[in-house]
Amino acid sequence: MDISTQTTDASPPTPQPSVVQQKRNARGATRAGDRVFLGLSRGSGILLLVIMAAIAVFLTYRASLAISKDHGNFLTTFEWNTNLIPPSFGIAVLAFGTVVSSIIAMAIAVPIAVAIALFITHYAPRRIGGLVAYVIDLLAAVPSIVYGLWGGLILVPHMTGLFSWLNDFFGWTGIFSWDGGAPRSMLTVGILLAIMILPVITNVSREVFRQVPQMHEEAALALGATRWEVIRMAVLPFGRSGVISASMLGLGRALGETMAVATVLSPDFDIHASLLNPGGGTFAQNIASKFSEATADGRDALIASGLVLFVITLLVNGAARIIIQRRAEYSGANA
């Protein structure tokens, strides 16, 4: 034992009569410091709220300018001719395309993402699971424009086989009929969006599945359940709300995705029954592709469509967060 350090450590605290006095003196100074610091940090928080409010206010203002000039019906017109005098434009096609592409993306991505989350947490050996989780994390970081480039140059040519097969067997439904054009259609967009939102949904679901109480699973196993029965009886019911909110986060991303849609879709301004024939459009894609040729009125019109997108994503994300927040989180601080 090192005696020297011990003696210094153990040196009795000399009672200082001025401690109280010092504290009182210090208090005045600290109060000022505390106030400044609290002001700064609270100010930043308020600034965030102000930005959100400003986004809503300014978009609404510009949108109202555009809509007042709109000769068509903003909700139902099937065209986007902002350079006409008077301009005529409506969001019906964009709303339809946005919803359809997102639904396709969700239908593909959610089951696969949940399966991968289960794979990571319950099926794969621990090491492989960790590796897969890491890779999925990295893939969430791949910029959307790269997905877009890959989608436009690699995925699109690879879709012809699937499209002709779908057309052969399900063409009679009308939804899957195909006239043989380039497969730059809603289905391709949906598939690309599914690939893009997969990491988001997987990551959140994985966290939820990991929180399933071990006891529940062990109880099920002890009753003789197979692994699948454990998942169905213990894991999925526990994780349901988490999976729902994860899906909604993914949905929010799919709704607002711009570049990947703009690079893959060959748009027009009509609603098509077939998912395989090119055409249609989404809010974000329309803004990106129409922007460069838009005049002042045209830009306001695009801002108006952006406002609709903003409101939709706000609702979806808000709902997702409310579901998540119901699960009270334990934290080290403020426990």
Partner: protein
């Protein structure tokens, strides 16, 4: 296959009715072979279809065989396992393809010339030119966005964790969460609406502002998580020594979690570095070098990729440049990610548990 053959097998296995360990692999191999055969015989040209057929054969084959030998419950279990594996493989294929294509096609024109020259007067369909202007633009815009977004984000997180109680904190938490989901193009439109009011032309800093808006909520979330990991004992010890709260935060809480905060900021930088939509609206793109982010149109790497793709008219030279720029961007983002994770592991706060 007759039931007699299965019944004959039963006594030979120790556990009675259970498939041997190698059976999943055998079924995988068998269904892949069958899938290829069907693909070849049926003349299906798409390899994706071959894979789909093999996958279906695998799932149904597993169920059929397992149901016969082991019973329905085990069969369901095996099908679930096989479905999970199929899902994993299905998801990995496009991701591997993405990485592979970007690297293999990106290295074609990615050389020092590409990184140190701009497009200038090189037509989009011609070979040559490079992404220098785009790289400069990206670095400046992202750098300025970080200077704005990171401090505000960190301070907000400090407020939420250290001071936040009551309605304001709840509102901030909720809207930070919602803000995370704002589409990047909407952030771009917001700044655009301001620029329209003041009748401004595109310039780099406008893009930075939009990127900062996208960055703030990400920084807040990650910093919040990190601050929550700091044990309360540390704060209490510091406060008990008479250290004022703001000094406690600056000298105890932030240094303890600095690794995690840095990680969060770097991940946020990685995220905004790849954003295209706001840059497209606000910075416009510029084939020439413009070092001044406060005046005149600039370019940026993601925007460069998009414009090379969209204006190429099918010219391979432009596609090659787009892939090379993609590779540059991915390399930048991945390096940021890896370094950030490295810092996180290295500087992880010791929670004492």
């Amino acid at each position: 296959m007759s039931t007699a053959a299965v019944a004959d097998k039963r006594p030979s296995t120790l556990q009675g009715a259970s498939l041997p360990k190698w059976s999943p692999y055998a079924i995988v191999g068998g269904s892949i072979v069958l899938g290829v055969v069907i693909g070849l015989v049926g003349g299906l040209d798409s390899k994706i279809q071959w894979g789909l057929i093999a996958g279906l054969l695998y799932v149904f084959g597993t169920y059929g065989i397992a149901a016969r030998v082991e019973g329905k419950r085990q069969a369901k279990d095996r099908v679930a396992t096989s479905l999970v594996w199929v899902a994993f493989v299905v998801a990995v294929i496009p991701l591997v393809s993405l990485i592979w294509v970007t690297i293999s096609r990106g290295v074609k024109v990615l050389d020092p010339y590409f990184l140190s020259h701009s497009m200038g007067v090189v037509a989009d369909s011609e070979a040559g030119g490079g992404a220098y202007a785009a790289i400069i633009g990206s670095l400046e815009q992202v750098g300025l966005a970080t200077l704005i977004g990171a401090p505000i984000g960190i301070l907000t997180a400090v407020y939420l964790v250290e001071y936040g109680r009551g309605r304001l904190a709840k509102a901030v938490t909720f809207f930070v969460d919602v803000m995370t989901g704002i589409p990047s193009i909407v952030a771009g439109l917001f700044i655009l609406s301001l620029m329209l009011i003041f009748d401004m032309q595109p310039f780099g800093f406008a893009g930075s502002l939009a990127l900062a808006i996208l960055m703030m909520p990400v920084v807040v979330r990650s910093t919040e998580e990190m601050l929550k990991l700091v044990p309360n004992e540390l704060r209490e010890a510091s406060l008990a020594l008479g250290v004022p709260k703001w000094r406690t935060i600056l000298k105890v809480v932030l240094p303890t979690s600095i690794g995690g905060i840095t990680t969060g900021v770097m991940l946020a930088i990685a995220r905004i570095a790849g954003e295209t939509a706001p840059v497209l609206l606000l910075v416009f793109g510029n084939p020439f070098i413009n070092n001044n982010p406060f005046e005149g149109a600039q370019s940026s790497l993601p925007l460069f990729i998009y414009q090379q793709y969209a204006n190429s008219a099918g010219a391979n030279a432009a596609y090659d440049r787009a892939w090379a720029a993609s590779l540059t961007l991915i390399a930048f983002v991945m390096i940021l990610n890896l370094v950030a994770r490295g810092i996180a592991r290295w500087k992880a706060p010791k929670t004492g548990r």
